[in-house]
Symmetry: C2
Subunit: 467 residues, 2 copies
């Protein structure tokens, strides 16, 4: 029942200022899910999203979980048959912690528009890109469509969670308990980015993620380094020696069977990636680096889109305050994460890591493993009707073809949709590489926000059969 | 003018309960010098010591410095010639931070007597051994002597500082400005220990100490490990790889020229150490360890008394809070200390460490070095009249000969007395290896306190010419 998308696009243009105001309201809520003291703020963000969708014309419920609540909203074409098309849109209203605060140029929860010379303006705030700015592009496209037409051209369910930045512990049970409400033809998720400022993209390969924390212990208490230094084993030294062997000089991860089951990208795929003209030097120079690290014989794009990693995300042990304390600590610890590619199983990788550490432990040390989580990588077929529809809508909006690309990050929800609801996902987002998500001064280009809203209106139209 | 020490010993016996009460008063003051928020408590501890000495009969001044004040007290034999004997006693009224608090069996600044089966009682508190319990053995011996005789048999100056646990930044300028007040025939310091519970000791060799902090930086900001993991260098990984090479598999420190200038202990000395019957296994088992670490071809005593070390006392970088943050941090850092032996120069060791790190840095990383301090090792002649006098006083008290021993720790004040005042030190203390100084549940045996008070009364008598 393809409705005309043109009046919706016009409506979006007319309401840009109001849309930015609404986004800023959401950005002002410090919905940090990893820190329990911000629990009430997460609930406030959920209620805010529910209110926005209710005002737009959705049926909305804020559904409790053992953790942060889920927002579930739905809108069905009134009294008309929709030839069965139904989509589930996914986003998250929680954000990363903003620390270190002193590195922000303006307070992370006081969003502002920052003008730039030789580039368009951007919105600076924690969550501006990941994921509040992104999810609002979809929510506001629906709002405009409902403003104009009173209903959407296909059945849309929206699911917003508040635990994406803390491992989504409530998501799997929630999906299992609400299959009927949530199952759709395809899921749309907006955590991903454009290829560059002018080129849209659909992400069809996502690395998986496994995490672990290792705590190495030596003596039964902290020791004075004068009284024991030398003969008493130092868990910090042991930890550095173990972790130093995690990768060899050519960047190969030394965990046994780490690379088992990984398929090399097809040569046609590799050729396509090379033809993208990705500027490795510029990508690294943007963050102050000059030399690609990691696997010596792989390009940067190949590494990010098709190769696994083993990274140390945090390390701590002994005295870390001001000045000196001549202590040999009883323990030292590190937090690690592994980006996974298709063929790798998180459980096997984590078991491999435990065995890697244990094999290298001196007899006087013990290792404890905590915080293990895992989700596998995922890869979608690009030659399906929804993929073709979305790609052509994006091409209409940007005036150039959309790229099918990989992504170095992980979106465990995509695996959950597949395993629990038997549903594939399309990953379309408008973030850019320099958005500094998870870092100080996170931003979202105003152009990303404007393109995003219009692109979603077009995608909704195309998925509903519009031409 | 040798006075009889016997009535002083009797007086000490009669006043034990009162002496413990006074020590507890001092232990209740949380004089943590490394944490600026405890500045007022340091001053309170200084004033408390000054009050005690004034009550005992000393002339006392609390002298301001740029940091914590010095307590200077003196007492001269009234109107009599003392054949020139003058001693300077040194101690410190500041203590280590008590963290981690949760590992204490009772609050660190609420001292208590703990009874044990098959062993005598001890005092549990931060500072019980290091250094409040130790310094009070000397102060209370003087108090008893003055109670009985009205004056001391030789000129005694007492110098108490409040910055020993934070590197003594005010000490050198203070010594330079107060040479005449402080210069004596010999200095007595009480930071050291007995050989074991029944055997007294004079420490004649002290390891020196050099400290440094290294901060390694990579990208110009924290990065998302999904977006950059692999191609972007990780400063935590670099830090672990650099520090892992600090010692080789046989425990040899790999800093260039680290061992230059070190003399091997004389074979007679080594033989004497071996004859002490030191139980390496028991020493390590006491802290939950089984295997001597460090240099593979050296005994534990040899390592502690005659060999240098390179220890990592603290390490930190990236996300260290609860849960996970998939970050590649911009920096990672470690705090190190080096125990030095005679022949090593702190400046050269620190320069060697900087060069060790810089040689191993990938081109995309930088290293900054902070918090460098250094004091060399020290070694005293054991065949001098004061050494012989002190050794025989200790033998009288314990009923067995005193051991001349080395010490793994550093007492930079001893080097300062030598360089600024041209004065040797005698290091006599009553701590035991299991006192857990710098750790939770620090303790001081009541027997150490009682032996210590009586031993100092005897040493004062012998140094004044008593037989």
């Amino acid at each position: 029942m393809a409705q005309n998308v043109q009046p919706v696009l016009k409506r979006l243009e007319e309401t840009t200022e109001r849309a930015l105001e609404k986004l800023f309201e959401l950005l002002r809520i410090p919905s940090i899910s990893t820190d329990p003291s911000y629990g009430a703020e997460c609930i406030r963000a959920a209620e805010w999203c529910a209110g926005f969708l209710r005002d737009a014309g959705f049926d909305v419920a804020v559904r409790p979980t053992d953790g942060q609540p889920m927002v579930v909203a739905s809108q069905h074409p009134k009294g008309e048959k929709t030839d069965g098309s139904r989509i589930l849109f996914y986003g998250h209203y929680d954000v990363q912690p903003p620390d270190p605060l002193e590195l922000w140029s303006s307070p992370p929860f006081e969003p502002r528009i920052v003008e730039r010379q030789n580039a368009g303006p951007f919105i600076r705030a924690r969550g501006a890109s990941d994921d509040k700015g992104q999810l609002m592009t979809f929510l506001d496209a629906c709002r405009a469509w409902l403003d104009v037409h009173g209903n959407l051209p296909l059945a849309v369910t929206i699911l917003l969670e508040g635990e994406e930045e803390s491992g989504s512990p409530s998501m799997l049970p929630f999906l299992r308990q609400n299959k009927d409400d949530l199952k759709a033809d395809i899921a749309l998720a907006c955590d991903t980015g454009q290829w560059d400022g002018e080129t849209p993209a659909i992400t069809t390969m996502l690395r998986g993620l496994a995490t672990a924390e290792v705590v190495i212990s030596g003596a039964n208490r902290d020791l004075h380094s004068g009284m024991y230094g030398g003969p008493a084993i130092n868990p910090i030294s042991v930890l550095t020696r173990v972790l130093a062997e995690l990768r060899d000089d050519s960047g190969q991860v030394q965990i046994e069977r780490f690379y088992d089951g990984i398929e090399e990208p097809a040569s046609a795929q590799l050729r396509q990636w090379r033809e993208l003209g990705f500027d490795e030097r510029a990508f690294l120079a943007d963050v102050g680096l000059a030399e690609p690290a990691g696997e010596a014989d792989r390009t940067v794009l190949e590494q990010l889109w098709s190769r696994p990693t083993a990274e140390i995300n945090g390390i701590y042990g002994g005295y870390t305050g001001p000045g000196t304390k001549t202590v040999i600590p009883a323990t030292a610890a590190a937090k690690l994460s592994f980006r996974l590619v298709p063929g790798q199983e998180p459980r096997k990788i984590l078991a491999g890591f435990r065995s890697f550490v244990e094999k290298r432990l001196p007899s006087d040390c013990k290792a404890a493993f905590e915080g293990e989580t895992g989700s596998p990588a995922i890869c979608f077929d690009t030659d399906t009707p929804p993929m073709r529809a979305a790609a052509s809508a994006l091409a209409d909006e940007f005036g150039r073809p959309a790229i099918f690309m990989g992504c170095g990050g992980s979106i465990p929800i995509v695996e959950a949709f597949r395993s629990e609801l038997g549903m594939d996902s399309m990953l379309i987002g408008f973030a850019l590489n320099d958005d500094q998500i998870h870092s100080p001064n996170e931003k979202y280009n105003v152009s990303s926000f404007l393109h995003g809203r219009r692109a979603w209106a077009r995608i909704i139209d195309r998925l509903a059969g519009g031409q």
